[in-house]
Amino acid sequence: MKVFVILSLFCVAAIADDYCYQDVVGACSKTANKHYSAVLNCSAKYGAIEKVQPALQQYINHHFVRSFEYLLMSTHFANYQKNRAGFEKLFRELSDNKWHEGIEMIKYLDSRGGEMDFNRIAEDVAKEEEKERSFELYELAAVARALDTEKKMALEANSIHSEATRKNINFHDPEISDYIEKEVVHKEKDLIRKLAGYATDLTNLLNKQDSSLSLFLFDEYLQNNKLF
């Protein structure tokens, strides 16, 4: 019995190995219909992409959601009353980065034989819409919001990574986990550290009777890229 199971497993594996080739042979044989229109099993899919795809699609959509939110925050700092060009720039950069990372991640998903689904979004992110949320925040609150958002993004990347590193034949996919490591987690670490540092500085600077000069200087340094 055992031998049979193992043998049949081998058979399945053997068939799975040359799907594409078999289809091609079938399609090219003389008996085949001249106008072969069926789709061949020649996709780029292998490894864990099928399992990880929904999480990646979701992650990509979250990039766009956050990109637009950062754009609104940036817009708020650019009005004539706030007039904080440095904070405008900080949040515009966050928005731009999320946007372009989203595009690159779509390309990545496609490169693994996947496809994008723009409707997929995490339940908790979807729920955010139910409550009234303001993106017109003062400086420290905006940095705080961004820090929380980025930690969430980082943890989401960790969760995708854990899917792809499970030591299970259907899940283990070093290519995906390496992509997440190279393209996402280190960037997130740097960003989180930067925002946490800003939160520290602003908290210290605002602990005074009048914070307007502190904010003016901080903003100016942000604007001129003189903060790390």
Partner: protein, 212 residues
């Protein structure tokens, strides 16, 4: 000396106890005479931001579709992803204009809503996507013209400067862009008629190298 130290200590404790950060600045009193954009025009501009972003996400879906392994038309994909970012830039330019005119001091949070999910996500071939792109551009152009109309309501007000900007900058780009896409459709469709897959494949490679 002791009592002095004690006083210092107490003052310290009090200031620690009332450690409230001063996060927001005071209310300002800036003259409003220079802020003269009319509500109807502002709202039209705000809607146009959404239109541009919607177009952007539609292009995003095109980019995503054409980079799939089973479609594999990188030239089309790159072109559409680039268009997606360009449409987003347009939205940002409109926002910047409103900010320059003293607008967007409030109600910023609902300027962009989560209603931008692309409607179409698959296409029969490159030609059909290009045709969709042309229709999309035409509809954006029409919307910009509507903004212009509303913002130059000759009788009561006329936002000359904005209208000039939309005409000289936005419409200029729209018309050039439309002509470009129409030309591409024409070239591709001619080849596509008799050379189907080969025509499309060749056109795609030419797109990558910028030769069509």
């Amino acid at each position: 000396m002791k009592s002095f130290l004690l006083t210092v200590f107490f003052v310290g404790v009090i200031s620690l106890g009332s450690a409230q950060l001063q996060c927001a600045n005071q209310e300002l009193n800036i003259p409003k005479d220079w802020i003269d954009m009319k509500e109807v025009c502002i709202n039209k501009m705000r809607d146009q931001v959404t239109e541009e972003l919607r177009a952007s996400m539609q292009y995003m879906a095109m980019g995503a579709y054409f980079s799939k392994d089973t479609v594999n038309l990188k030239g089309f994909s790159d072109m559409f992803f680039k268009s997606a970012s360009e449409e987003r830039e347009h939205a940002i330019k409109l926002i910047s204009y409103l900010l320059m005119r003293g607008e967007l001091t409030s109600k910023v949070s609902d300027l962009i809503k989560r209603n931008l999910i692309p409607k179409t996500t698959t296409w029969v071939n490159g030609v059909s996507a290009l045709k969709d792109a042309l229709k999309l551009e035409a509809s954006v152009t029409k919307k910009i013209r509507e903004v212009i109309k509303v913002c130059e309501d000759g009788s009561s007000f006329n936002h000359y400067h904005l209208v000039d900007y939309l005409t000289g900058d936005f419409l200029e780009e729209q018309y050039h862009g439309q002509r470009d896409i129409a030309g591409k459709i024409s070239t591709l469709e001619k080849m596509h008629k008799d050379h189907g897959a080969l025509g499309e494949w060749l056109f795609d490679k030419k797109l990558i190298s910028g030769e069509v």
